[in-house]
Point group: C2
Chain length 154, copies 2
């Protein structure tokens, strides 16, 4: 078994057994060195975004002092949900290894199909009603950004 | 203009002008009370997940001491990216108000189509190579979770 995946799976067990959250762990590796490891902390922290992958991305970025993790790879004990999958893209990572599938997660009560279905335009029912308002009155920050000479485009 | 959206737009300006991040702000409201307001902090914190919506979801959940924000509504100065859109679902919110569109964001250099396209299965090129490994050796945490008597299913 892959050594980093073994650590991700151990994190999943540890996090669940300590009551931190669901049975999910992740590891971020750069040049063969573990930069961050962690597990789901949704229950312990009351943070609905504290999935294992988000936890390790935040830890790795803090440790390396940069939001660009393009030289890092992520190992997740389970196929990421859309939030985490998108976060891996924003961190500019190029490689994701995962073990259990979204179907495995669904079988133990963690179903993210309702989110994938909405994004794909296939949902029979949408949890979130999205309403657009006030676009014309809200464009000013974008216009200021466009004209800013000194900015970090990320 | 909606009063909460006005605050979200002011946050977008404030965050950009202080160098915290891109021109994006958000507000979470519960029963007519503002629970959290904030802006993108990607640059200031080096956290690639610190989009405005994630920032305010984390703040609101911490303030209310719960990960279930189903009685809250979110106002975002811009249409959320897939990460934030999924996070709004995990927070169990039922209503999203947004102002600028993803096309407006793309026009100033913030393009999330490459993530939406991958999720929709429409991408010509994928930034992240996803590889499944070690499923059989990684199912144990899920089996333990399934058998746990005392757990918080979220």
């Amino acid at each position: 078994m892959n050594q980093y995946m073994q650590i991700a799976v151990n994190e999943a067990k540890k996090g669940m057994q300590s009551g931190a959250g669901g049975p999910f762990g992740a590891v971020i590796v750069c040049d063969g060195q573990i930069i961050a490891q962690g597990h789901n902390e949704v229950i312990e922290t009351n943070d609905p975004t504290a999935h294992a992958e988000i936890v390790v991305i935040r830890k790795a970025a803090a440790k390396l002092g940069r939001f660009d993790l393009s030289d890092c790879e992520i190992y997740s004990s389970c196929q990421p949900c859309p939030m985490c999958f998108a976060a891996i893209h924003w961190a500019k990572m190029k490689k994701l290894y995962y073990a259990c599938t979204k179907e495995d997660a669904r079988n133990i009560g963690f179903d993210d199909d309702f989110i994938y279905d909405v994004i794909k335009g296939k949902a029979a029912r949408e949890q979130v009603a999205s309403v657009q308002i006030d676009r014309n009155q809200s464009l000013e920050p974008f216009e200021i950004w466009q004209d800013m000479a000194k900015k970090v485009q990320y």
